[in-house]
């Protein structure tokens, strides 16, 4: 049994590693730990479970709170350690810190440190509890011209009303230093064409060096623009800049792809009324013929990967993308790796999404139409823990449902088939270090192996020593169970490319055509006694054994025998109510055709990772032997025991295609279960001379049949 998840058994956690500055690390041997005075925690699973390894360290001087820090290291760094998380520690709670014209959402100690550092008496507003509300306080602060008058001059600077106090000092709320009231200038400062970069925008500077409004070449001559302070974020009087940049407006915004730059570093010409030559240059990147804005990110379509897209509002991956990703032969092949690209100030940065496809790039368009990508953790391991189709096909998860075998090998009843008969598998196959002999992949790939027993019901005249001599349809016609494992079984009913499996409750076919494919017809045929195929059963590669379709009344493990003819089978020939018919119909097989079985098991195996027969990014295929189907023929007695201890083996499928390999004899390398006649088949022991009569006989204490008797498995024959 494979235990999913991380099951690292770490015996020791070192508080400090020997000869290293590494704190709280797990090791296999305590000799790797630094000894006294440092702790060594033994018999624990991980350092994660040691409280002293994951507390919060508070810096009493700066107020900085550092989480997930080792206790001793915190002390050595001069901090105060607490087992609590930062959210539970008062000193780590953030408050609104008003410092001059600025507002910061930081912890009280940091705030006080800033007051000291800047030599400003600011205000702490504990009643403001969110970053947004705190930042809004910036616009609420009264900012204006602070004029100090002397006999000879009027000195001015821009400040808050709180910072503008004293004798001969006057505060002009909302005014610039270049303002005039009436015909009187409030200070000696005058407008100028000087410009400066501040907060990524271009601002005018007055002759005193004070920052005025955002640069706007048109409004340079406007007296209003040199009188009142205009908020570049909220005022309609301030110009705006498109994502392409501007040489006439300085209201740049990096979130809109522009920033304050020297015009010489852009494609823009020299700006007017602007001595600094500063403009709003664009930050976009050009990549493979497309223009991306600053901060925009997207996925790189590298060989063997798919550019997965999702709706950024719901996080749902688009259905068409999920369908495409199911192509295990084209995407997520060995060697493939996802990459994310980011546009950063005109440069395209590359971010690898990690090895072994443990992380995949998924992109989407945000509300303004820009691409946003992220390297998303490929949690393929959780897929195996999901056992319903609905949960598995959650469009936010990277899992897919493959109808057929379940991971726990159970076969569920018909009514639960659609929802529960299948395997939830990784949508993005992970990679393995398959080039190593002891690769993890070996174990995981082996989960994709399947073993199937195909049983035949033959008459005494059939040549059971050489099935090769059977005519074309005989192999399929004589099969009674596990028939889908037979090459070519029901090939006339194969699903077309892209055709999804339909369940009986989803279809209502009377014949081929319209919405009904041949596969749908076969589904109806298997599900419903008396449903007519277009031609006689024997003419197809289909079982004509009644036991393939019908069982003894109400007993799924006990099949009927004998042949059927015509276009349909009837589990209650002659008479019998519909209810009895229902009871005698076997649950339809989990695969209906050999093609479906082959596709199912190969897709399941290849989805597990770098498993099976696949092409890698260098164009080379893996060893065909990695995907092989071997048929083992055994002649068995009616008891179910191997009649001869010689087995004939043949490879019938290798490296993605059916082959007719050499038949060779082999002495049983396989464990064969000896079935008990009575308990397994609910049969009876009968005379070996007249087995078809299945007359009653004695049985041994171990439920096998006595000498000269055979197990009569099919008492329905009576």
């Amino acid at each position: 049994m494979i235990i999913f998840g991380n099951a690292l058994v770490s015996a020791v956690c070192c508080e400090k590693l020997k000869n290293s500055d590494m704190w709280c690390q797990s090791v296999s041997n305590q000799n790797q730990c630094e000894g006294n005075p440092y702790f060594i925690w033994k018999n624990i699973q991980t350092c994660d479970s040691v409280p002293e390894c994951s507390g919060t360290c508070v810096n009493a001087n700066s107020g900085e709170c550092s989480e997930n820090t080792a206790k001793t290291q915190c002390g050595k760094s001069g901090g105060v350690w607490s087992e609590k998380s930062p959210g539970e520690i008062d000193e780590c709670q953030e408050v609104c810190c008003l410092l001059g014209q600025d507002a910061y959402f930081i912890n009280p100690t940091e705030c006080k440190a800033m007051f000291t550092q800047n030599n400003i008496q600011g205000i702490i507003r504990e009643d403001i509890t969110s970053r947004e509300n705190c930042e809004e306080m910036r616009s609420n602060l009264k900012v204006g011209a602070c004029v100090v008058s002397t006999l000879t001059e009027k000195i001015c600077n821009i400040s808050t009303s709180l910072d503008c106090t004293g004798k001969d000092v006057k505060f002009y709320d909302g005014f610039l230093c270049t303002a005039s009231i009436g015909t009187t200038r409030i200070s000696d400062c005058a407008k100028s064409e000087n410009t400066i970069c501040k907060d990524n925008k271009v601002y005018y500077k007055d002759t005193c060096g004070n920052i005025a409004n955002v640069y706007d070449s048109i409004k340079y001559s406007s007296s209003d623009y040199w009188t009142y302070i205009k908020d570049p974020y909220n005022s309609n009087d301030v110009c705006t800049v498109s994502s392409l940049g501007s040489k006439s407006c300085g209201n740049c915004d990096p979130t809109e792809n522009t920033v304050c730059k020297d015009y010489k570093d852009t494609t823009l010409s020299k700006p007017s009324n602007n001595l600094g030559g500063l403009v709003c240059g664009d930050l976009s990147c050009k990549y493979e013929g497309k223009i991306y804005e600053h901060g925009e990110s997207w996925c790189e379509g590298t060989n063997g990967t798919f550019e997965i897209e999702r709706d950024l509002t719901t996080s749902n991956i688009f259905k068409s993308n999920i369908t495409a990703l199911k192509n295990v032969n084209k995407y997520n092949i060995p060697g493939s790796k996802y990459y994310k690209l980011v546009c950063s100030s005109g440069e395209v940065l590359v971010e690898e999404c990690g090895d072994y496809r443990n992380s995949v790039c998924i992109q989407g368009k945000n509300e303004v139409g820009n691409m946003e990508a992220s390297c998303t953790f490929n949690n393929w391991r959780t897929c195996f823990q999901i056992d319903t189709k609905t949960e598995c096909e959650d469009p936010t998860a990277l899992c897919k449902w493959i109808p057929g075998y379940r991971w726990d090998s159970q076969i569920v009843s018909e009514e639960k088939r659609k929802e529960r008969q299948g395997s939830c598998s990784p949508l993005v196959a992970p990679g393995f270090d398959f080039w190593k002999g002891n690769s993890q992949g070996n174990g995981i790939c082996s989960m994709g192996s399947a073993q199937e027993y195909a049983m035949f019901e033959t008459g005494i005249w059939s040549n059971r020593d050489n099935m090769d001599e059977w005519h074309d349809n005989t192999l399929a016609n004589d099969c009674i169970n596990g028939c889908y494992a037979l090459p070519g079984y029901a090939e006339e009913f194969n699903q077309k490319a892209g055709e999804e499996k339909q369940y009986p409750e989803e279809i209502n076919c009377v014949g081929v055509g319209g919405q009904c494919s041949m596969y749908d017809i076969l589904t109806e045929f298997y599900d419903e006694s008396e449903f007519n195929l277009p031609a006689s059963i024997g003419s197809y590669h289909l079982s004509d054994r009644r036991g393939q379709y019908c069982n003894k009344d109400g007993d799924q493990t006990h099949w009927l025998t004998g042949a059927i003819t015509g276009e349909s089978y009837d589990c209650t020939p002659g008479a019998g109510s519909e209810a009895k018919d229902e009871r005698k119909e076997r649950d339809y097989p989990i695969y209906l055709t050999n093609q479906e079985w082959l596709n199912g098991i190969t897709e399941r195996a290849r989805s597990l990772g770098d498993c099976g027969y696949k092409v890698s990014i260098n164009g080379k295929y893996s060893d065909p032997e990695t995907e092989i189907i071997t048929a083992i023929f055994q002649k068995m007695s009616q008891k179910g025991a191997v009649k001869e201890n010689i087995t004939v083996e043949q490879i019938i499928y290798k490296g993605g295609k059916a082959i007719q390999g050499e038949l060779y004899e082999t002495t049983l390398p396989y464990t064969t279960t000896i079935y008990s006649c009575v308990s397994d088949y609910k049969g009876i022991c009968t005379s070996a001379d007249t087995p078809s009569l299945c007359e009653g006989g004695e049985q041994n204490a171990d439920a096998t049949c006595p000498e000269k008797t055979v197990c009569c498995v099919y008492p329905e024959l009576i």
């Binding site: 494979i2 235990i3 998840g5 991380n6 099951a7 690292l8 590693l17 000869n19 290293s20 500055d21 590494m22 704190w23 709280c24 690390q25 797990s26 991980t46 350092c47 994660d48 390894c53 994951s54 360290c57 810096n59 700066s62 900085e64 550092s66 989480e67 997930n68 820090t69 080792a70 915190c74 760094s77 001069g78 901090g79 550092q117 990524n200 990096p254 979130t255 920033v259 600053h294 980011v342 950063s344 100030s345 940065l349 971010e351 690898e352 999404c353 990690g354 072994y356 443990n358 992220s374 390297c375 953790f377 992970p430 990679g431 393995f432 270090d433 690769s439 993890q440 992949g441 174990g443």
Partner: protein, 270 residues
């Protein structure tokens, strides 16, 4: 030509050769000792602050550069860091893990709780011998010039603040010559640097690594368009973050390993 004349002419040639040799030798000597000569000449005109600035600035800058490339520590060994070599580097360095766990699927342990303060101390430790040496040279240079020198040593400190790295030596120098005395207190070197911002971003990245196991570098681009944040994924889910300030061309880099995913399921129990 008479023998006397010929001898006289030969004597002149010899003198010219000797003069030429002397000129060449003088040239070589000037070439070899010129920086010292210039330095000595300059010392005479230099004030003590300039002397210390010139003596220490390069050392501080080099130390900051080395520490910044190695995740905030001057010495990083193999067990505490991941080797990394940038594209334009001739030789790489070990980059310290600032948050690390060697286990899978769990959060990293913060390896340096107060990063800024740690780097300030690290710089100070590395330059302390040079501080000693520079001030000794300063004292000697003034003593050589006949000054009576009194140096009161305080505790130097390094502060990483917005737009600058400030080194304040907290030393006081008093120079006395004859009746005049001069006192120098402002021994401070301010390097233009955006390391403060880079460290703030790094600390934020570490918080994300602790809580989520990853970070979004583009989140910082709007805050400072000139700060380039690169995330390089390495083997075994190790990440090396490289922060570059495009304006100052400073680089700060560090390594992390958090919520790592192993190959396959990790440890398998059969």
């Amino acid at each position: 030509m008479s023998e006397k004349k010929r001898l006289k002419k030969r004597g002149q040639v010899t003198i010219f050769i000797i003069i030429a040799i002397l000129i060449i030798a003088l040239g070589v000597l000037i070439y070899m000792f010129y920086p010292k000569i210039v330095s000595q000449m300059e010392t005479e005109t230099k004030n003590p602050s300039t002397f210390i600035q010139e003596c220490m600035e390069e050392t501080i800058q080099d130390t900051v550069d080395i520490i910044s490339l190695q995740g905030g520590s001057y010495v990083v060994n193999e067990s505490g860091g991941r080797f990394y070599k940038g594209e334009d580097e001739d030789e790489g360095t070990y980059v310290r893990y600032l948050c690390y766990t060697n286990e899978d699927f769990i959060s990293c342990i913060n390896q340096e709780p107060f990063l800024t303060e740690h780097i300030e101390l690290e710089i100070l430790n590395v330059i302390s011998l040079d501080i000693e040496s520079c001030f000794n040279s300063l004292v000697k240079s003034y003593e050589d010039k006949g000054y009576e020198v009194d140096l009161k040593k305080g505790n130097p400190e390094v502060q990483i603040i917005p737009y600058s790295i400030s080194t304040n030596f907290n030393h006081t120098l008093t120079l006395v010559k004859g009746d005049s005395s001069e006192r120098y207190k402002n021994f401070e070197i301010n390097l233009n640097s955006n390391l403060y911002d880079m460290l703030e971003v790094s600390k934020n990245i570490i918080i994300w690594e602790i809580n989520v196991g990853d970070s979004l570098p583009e989140a910082y681009m709007n805050y400072n368009p000139y700060l380039k944040v690169e995330k390089h994924k390495k083997e075994n889910d190790i990440k090396v973050y490289v922060l570059t300030d495009e304006k100052t061309q400073e680089i700060f880099r560090f390594a992390t390993r958090s919520f790592a995913a192993p190959i396959g399921f990790g440890e398998i129990i059969l």
